[in-house]
């Protein structure tokens, strides 16, 4: 099943630190492992994270700014990930500024990549300023990452409004870092709570998983493997993006007897 038209998808959140970059990297890996050609782009100009999260930092030659300046074609600035055929990454430039790129230029870069890939995934910077507007401009679709916390959900609500105002379709939600044990004892909002508040479609639920930390330390996204709770959630998300129907996984909970017991009553989620 090859997507009819290459799709440009922006991953954003409003609030920082909710796992946007990790999510972008893992969805990219998971889509590529399904046989798709994927370009992931770090749009956080002035900072640079996606390359280290993916473990490709030593191979960066050209970055997004080189492409915008016309020094190199968009396709040539893509670093091929040798671990997964079809996966490519374009780095951000640390020594430039968000204002050095315009929404129109971002659109041109991404449009140029449509001929070469099935998916362009854009890792948006946090916030709702210029960097966010640049990342949003080329998007056909938007993925909104949030954690089940009041600040993150409030910012997500604001982003939904801005995405709508930009004339884009409503974002789909990834609820990240869901802690099954906290949900079970009522100390964390449930997936249903967040969906009821934000009123957008759910793309997936990613359980809180310490494996993410080790994976990021090593520059080896969890989706490179098949196991792990978060890893499975990312593979499911990639499948849903590809148009497959995949049920949201039951939340398994390894946090002791109480967690397992309450898990019996709350078995719904990719960890929800």
């Amino acid at each position: 099943m090859i997507p009819a038209t290459p799709r440009i998808i922006t991953v954003t959140s409003g609030k920082g630190g909710v796992g946007k970059t990790t999510t972008t990297a893992n969805i990219g890996v998971a889509l590529a492992r399904r046989g798709r050609r994927v370009a992931v782009i770090d749009a956080d100009i002035g900072l640079r994270n996606l390359d280290v999260v993916m473990g490709l930092e030593n191979r960066v030659v050209y970055n997004l700014i080189h492409v915008v300046r016309g020094a190199v074609d968009a396709e040539r600035a893509l670093i091929r990930d040798k671990r997964v055929p079809g996966l490519m990454m374009m780095a951000a430039d640390q020594h430039s500024d968000k204002d050095d790129v315009s929404p129109e230029e971002m659109r041109e870069v991404c449009e140029a990549l449509r001929a070469h890939v099935d998916y362009v995934l854009i890792d948006s910077p946090a916030g709702i300023e210029q960097g966010f507007r640049n990342a949003l401009a080329p998007a056909d679709e938007v993925i909104l990452v949030t954690t089940p916390e009041v600040s993150s959900v409030r910012d997500a609500d604001r982003v939904i409004g801005l995405v709508e105002a930009a004339g884009k379709p409503p974002p789909r939600l990834i609820l990240n870092r869901v802690k099954a044990d906290l949900v079970a004892r009522g100390d964390m909002m449930t997936t249903e709570d967040v969906l009821d508040i934000l009123r957008i479609d759910l793309l997936g639920v990613v359980p809180d998983d310490t494996a993410i930390i080790a994976a990021t330390n090593r520059g080896e996204p969890v989706a490179l493997g098949d196991g792990g709770r978060a890893g499975r959630a990312f593979h499911n998300i990639a499948a849903r993006l590809d148009g497959e129907h995949v049920d949201v996984l039951p939340l398994d909970n390894h946090s002791g007897f109480f967690g397992r017991l309450s898990g019996l009553f709350r078995a719904d989620g990719d960890g929800r």
């Binding site: 409004g161 100390d187 909002m189 709570d193 009821d196 508040i197």
Partner: protein
């Protein structure tokens, strides 16, 4: 709810997840309406002033609130003297 609380007839504390949901719903209604609770207070006072010019109202019981879906609801109970005037 602990046994002690039960014996003392105390209300159980709400789970913090529920508190989070309720606080978010409240704050987002104001966010979405671009309104602050202080502005709503001003609106309430002005509504009271306008309506009082025509009819007695039970001042302390006027309630103006923002409801889910961006609806501003004003409940304005009329004062005891209100009905007498129209008779």
């Amino acid at each position: 709810m602990s046994l002690l609380d039960r014996l003392m007839g105390r209300e159980p504390a709400k789970a913090s997840g529920t508190v989070a949901r309720e606080r978010l719903k409240f704050v987002l209604e104001y966010d979405r309406a671009r309104l602050t609770p202080a502005q709503l207070e001003t609106i309430r006072d002005e509504i009271i002033a306008v309506i009082s010019r025509h009819v007695d109202i039970a001042d302390g019981q006027v309630d103006v609130k923002l409801e889910q879906g961006g609806r501003l609801i004003a409940e304005i109970p009329l004062g005891r003297g209100a009905g007498a005037r129209t008779r």
